[in-house]
Structures are given as C-alpha cells and as structure tokens.
C-alpha cells in the first residue's frame, strides 16, 4: 500500500508541474519562472516543444493524470492484493521514463538548454518508476501491507 500511496503523491506533484508548463504553453501568465538561465524559455520555444501538434507538456498532464488515477484505484481495499495494478503502474511509468529520456536527449544534445521544470519532471517520473519496480518485486499477496 505504501508504494502505491507514494506513486499517487509523486504523480500528483508531477501533474501540477506538467499543468504549469502546459498552461504557460497555452499563453497563460507571463514569462516562465525558471531562474536567470532562461533554459525553460529556450526549450519551450523550440520547435521540439510541440509533439504531434500538441505541446509536450500536455502529454505530461495526461500521463501523470493516468498514473494518479490508476494509483488511487489500486488503493481500493479490493485492489490491494491484485498485482495487475502494480503491472499497470509500472507500464505507465516505463512509458513516461522512455518519453522523458527522449526529451532529455533533445535538451542536452539538440536544443543545448536545460529546463529546470523538465528536470523536476524527469526526477519525479524516474522516482515513480523506481517505486513501481520496488512494488513489483514484492511477492503477490504480500505487496500491499
């Protein structure tokens, strides 16, 4: 249970990070709060800030929301002993980590700028993935104490 609670809380934080970046991409608010380096602006205004016609942050909102919903559903008493919820969470986290890895590659080697908010999101999704792996390594039926 602790693992799923941790995943839910991490996903909640990640959701708001992605939400801020998405709302900013839609034109809400002024200059992005990113420190003096300006890396966020560089990343957010680059052609790679749009993926399949939508701001990259939108996919973050959808991904974190999906993880949050699944984690909360997995915390229902009837679901606590069912391992398929942990499998689903690990699957979603793996997709998130892979997508984040691609975006981090673009930041480092293509755009040559680092967005602190993106780094924060990368840390969160990586932490979710690690916790999801730890949850999977526990034996079924003993997992959610």
């Amino acid at each position: 249970m602790r693992y799923r609670q941790a995943i839910a809380l991490l996903a909640l934080v990640g959701l708001f990070v992605a939400l801020y970046l998405w709302l900013h991409a839609l034109g809400f608010g002024g200059a992005i709060k990113c420190g003096a380096s300006g890396g966020c602006e560089t990343v957010q205004t680059s052609p790679w800030a749009v993926f399949l016609g939508l701001p990259v942050a939108f996919y973050g909102v959808v991904g974190y929301l999906a993880i949050l919903i699944v984690a909360l559903m997995a915390l229902r008493p009837a679901a606590l002993t069912q391992k398929n919820w942990s499998v689903t969470l690990l699957g979603l986290a793996t997709v998130g980590v892979l997508f984040t890895g691609y975006l981090t590659y673009l930041e480092l080697f293509v755009i040559h700028a680092i967005c602190r908010w993106c780094v924060g999101s990368a840390v969160i999704i990586t932490a979710i993935w690690v916790v999801a792996v730890m949850a999977m390594r526990r034996k079924e039926g003993m997992t959610e104490r």
Binding site: G27, G29, G30, A31, K33, E41, G53, I111
Partner: protein, 232 residues
C-alpha cells in the same frame, strides 16, 4: 487510509495555489502595441529583406524577439550567414514576425522593431534587441529599456513613442503571425527556402544553409530554361 486522502487533498490544494500564483505573477501588458489588434488588414508588407533582389534563393525566417533561440541564431549564426551567403549575393533573407503566445512582450518587441523600421532603422533596432537580450529573461516591462535601445539604434524617439502608442503596426504583425500559421510554423525560428519549409535536427548554421542553397542552385541549373526563384 483516510489520513492519506486528506494528505492528497491538502497537497493538491497547495500545488494548485502555487501554480495559480506562478501564472499570475507574470503580470499584464504595458501598451496597445503589446496585444493583437481588433482587426487584421493586409497592408501589402511582406517583411524587411537583407541581400540582393536578384539572389537565386530567398530564405524567410519567422522569428520571435523574446525567443532565446532566435537571439542565439541572430547573434552567433547570422553574422557568418551574412558574410558567406547574403553579402555574396547568393541569398536574400526575409524577416517575418511570429510572436509566440507564450511570450508576454514578443509582440511589443516586434512592434518596437517595426516602428524603428518606419524610420529606416529596422536592422539596427533588431540588433539592439537581440544583442541586449537580457530583457527577455527578467519578465519586467521592457518599454523603458526599448526606448533606450531605440535611441541607441538612432531612432527619433518622438516618432517612435507616437508609433508605439498608436499600435501603428499591430495589424501588420498579426497578419505575419497568421501567415506563419497558414504555413504551419510551429516554433521559432522557422525557415523557408524559396517557400519550402526547412527542417533541421539542430539550430542551423551557415554550413547548413550553404548546403541548402547549393542544392537549390544546382537543382535549378540542371533544368534548362528554369531558374531558382523566390516565391515572395
């Protein structure tokens, strides 16, 4: 279990307030020139150009003055491009405005450059904004700084102030932005060579454009009776 949901609720409220505060701290626009106009009229203007009218290739750049990548391109890549491609008569460069909605002062900056352009100081003002690009990182109202930069560019400030106050070129800038939308511009800077959108895996330099230009000129020369021509 119940305590956990209380924690989730409290964290959600705190984060929502934080996001709201972050967005609200962006502030408001400072002048009529900073926003889109109520109506858009085509005044026939298609951007300032640099280079020979007879150059075989025209590169059109859609740019945003608040965009850091555009500033990097203008200050690091463009001098070499000017020297190797524009000054040699091979390329004509056309500048089009594409203020991104995520930038608070990009329209205002584009307007400042257009007002300077009305006095024949387009490129001088453009350089001032790109070479003093710290204004784009502070989030502060740049109106006062832009007047200083306009003065440094040799602009008459009385005419500049009047132009900015009226929002004289707001419709022109919005027309350019809509034109960019129609051409599927999805970020800045975006480049077109004789009307064809260019895609680069990284911020392009002079060598990248030279390859494009060489290819277009060679392609045109292989077709008897046809020349590479600008579409704008």
């Amino acid at each position: 279990m119940n305590r956990f949901y209380v924690v989730v609720g409290v964290v959600a409220v705190v984060l929502a307030v934080a996001v709201f505060a972050l967005l609200k701290s962006g502030g408001g626009a400072s002048a009529a020139a900073a926003g889109p106009p109520p109506t858009v009229v085509d005044d026939g203007f298609r951007g300032y150009t640099l280079g020979s009218e007879t150059a075989p290739v025209e590169i059109t750049e859609y740019l945003d003055y608040e965009c850091p990548v555009c500033a990097t391109f203008a200050t690091i890549q463009m001098p070499t491009i000017k020297e190797q491609l524009i000054n040699t008569g091979r390329v004509r460069w056309r500048f089009r405005d594409y203020p991104l909605p995520i930038h608070k002062y990009s329209r205002f900056a584009a307007h400042a450059v257009q007002c300077a352009g009305a006095q024949g100081k387009f490129f001088q003002m453009q350089d001032q904004l790109f070479y003093h690009h710290q204004w784009a990182q502070t989030g502060k109202d740049p109106a006062s700084l832009f007047r200083d930069l306009a003065r440094a560019a040799g602009v008459d400030l009385n005419a500049y102030d009047s132009c900015m106050e009226k929002g004289q070129f707001a419709a022109r800038i919005e027309f350019s932005r809509q034109e960019g939308d129609q051409k599927l511009v999805d970020g800045t800077p975006t480049f077109f060579a004789n009307g064809t959108k260019l895609t680069f895996r990284r911020l392009p330099g002079s060598d990248d454009f030279k390859a494009v230009v060489d290819s277009m000129i060679a392609h045109a020369s292989r077709r008897p009776g046809r020349q590479a021509s600008a579409t704008h």
